[in-house]
């Protein structure tokens, strides 16, 4: 069963690859299409510097010159950092609570006969049974 699945994998994947390929070539901005749809980012096309116009129609402002990209990157870095911080606090809190709980547990286990009941080894149970 597993064997046949594995053998079939390339044949399942091939149409996927072709579909993706088709999709990407349709969707990805390629030179001819990039010049035409001005409504996509009108602000950017207006701000294009003339220096990059090398005459092959690929005149869109590159993302590293757009402050928008840099700003978005910084927002997401900040978000991730905040997430890590929050997670760190949660994990730390949980760990300290757990340590406290287990520290308490050992004490309870020794003193509380109800809780120590299950700790009895079979040996001691057997001894008790013999004594009875």
């Amino acid at each position: 069963m597993k064997q046949t699945n594995q053998n079939r994998a390339p044949w399942i994947l091939l149409p996927c690859v072709l579909l993706t390929l088709g999709g990407v070539t349709l969707l990805a901005p390629h030179p001819a299409a990039q010049a035409a749809p001005t409504q996509v980012a009108p602000a950017q096309t207006a701000a294009k510097p003339a220096a990059y116009d090398d005459g092959d129609g690929d005149e869109l402002l590159e993302h590293w010159d757009s402050p928008r990209y840099g700003a978005e990157e910084r927002i997401q870095i900040g978000g991730a950092a905040a997430g890590f911080l929050l997670l760190g606090v949660v994990v730390w809190g949980k760990r300290s609570r757990r340590t406290a709980a287990y520290a308490g547990l050992t004490l309870v286990d020794v003193s509380d006969p109800v809780k120590t009941e299950f700790l009895k080894s079979e040996q001691s149970v057997a001894e008790e049974r013999k004594a009875a």
Binding site: L27, Q39, Q76, L87
Partner: protein, 258 residues
């Protein structure tokens, strides 16, 4: 220390497994074929030809390494669980997050092998057509690798809670959306939207990875200069985003019943 070792051991096995997969071989053949094919397609004068060659080859490297990264990570963890190879490993003192990072490292190792093969083909073509290497390649390719790293982490996280075909589909979808993030946002927001929709779209927009950031293809094709500060920031961004996704994947996997 032991954690790093565990990740290394799991990663090594995963990488060996990935590099042995038929899918990987087929994709590598496909890539090499595509790169050589693009060379024969580009039949123009020297200047334009080099541009087209670079453009097509880099696109092909991106495409194939993304597919390899997504396919290998998406099948990695579910495959381990289906084939029950995960049990002997996590019965050792190996934390769940170490397992996830090991699987991820292994997948990225496989992607690195694939990228090395494609880069070698590309270098060979460049040398035979232009006679010299374009130095831009030395940052364009690493950033492409960083982009596939984000994709792989995304696929890994998806595969910890979705079945692998669904995770594959979602990863490819998110890859496309991530590449078209800004135009998509602009076109959605230019239409009249209700307040709730605006908030939802903006939230999703800020959660979506900005994959276009890693695309320095044009810098190489058109010989443009990229500011260093932007490169560093983008590198940091990629690492942060990957780390966040791996943390999410570890958290979901840690809760999983095996």
């Amino acid at each position: 220390m032991q954690a790093l070792r565990n990740i290394g051991i799991i990663g090594r096995i995963t990488m060996l497994e990935g590099a042995r997969k038929q899918v990987f071989h087929v994709l590598m053949l496909f890539a090499v074929f595509l790169i050589f094919g693009s060379a024969s397609l580009a039949k123009f004068d020297q200047h334009v030809q080099m541009k087209m060659l670079n453009d097509l080859c880099l696109f092909c490297v991106f495409l194939v390494s993304s597919i390899v990264a997504i396919t290998i990570t998406v099948t990695g963890v579910p495959g381990e669980m289906e084939q029950k190879t995960v049990y002997p490993v996590i019965a050792k003192p190996v934390a769940r997050w170490q397992f996830i990072c090991g699987k991820y490292a292994g997948a990225m190792g496989t992607v690195a092998i694939g990228m090395a093969i494609m880069a070698a083909t590309f270098t060979f073509l460049q040398l035979s057509y232009a006679g010299h290497l374009d130095t831009a390649m030395f940052y364009v390719l690493p950033f492409l690798y960083l982009e596939t790293a984000i994709l792989a982490a995304l696929a890994l996280w998806l595969s910890t809670w979705a079945s692998w075909p669904l995770a594959w589909f979602l990863s490819v979808l998110l890859c496309l959306l991530g590449n078209l993030k800004f135009p998509l946002y602009d076109s959605l927001m230019s239409r009249p939207q209700s307040g709730f929709n605006r908030v939802a779209i903006t939230t999703l927009y800020h959660l979506l990875p900005n994959l276009e950031s890693f695309n320095f293809k044009d810098a190489m094709v058109h010989h443009l200069a990229v500011p260093n500060a932007y490169l560093w920031q983008t590198a940091a961004y990629g690492l942060f985003y990957t780390a966040a996704l791996l943390t999410l994947a570890s958290l979901t996997f840690a809760r999983k019943e095996l």
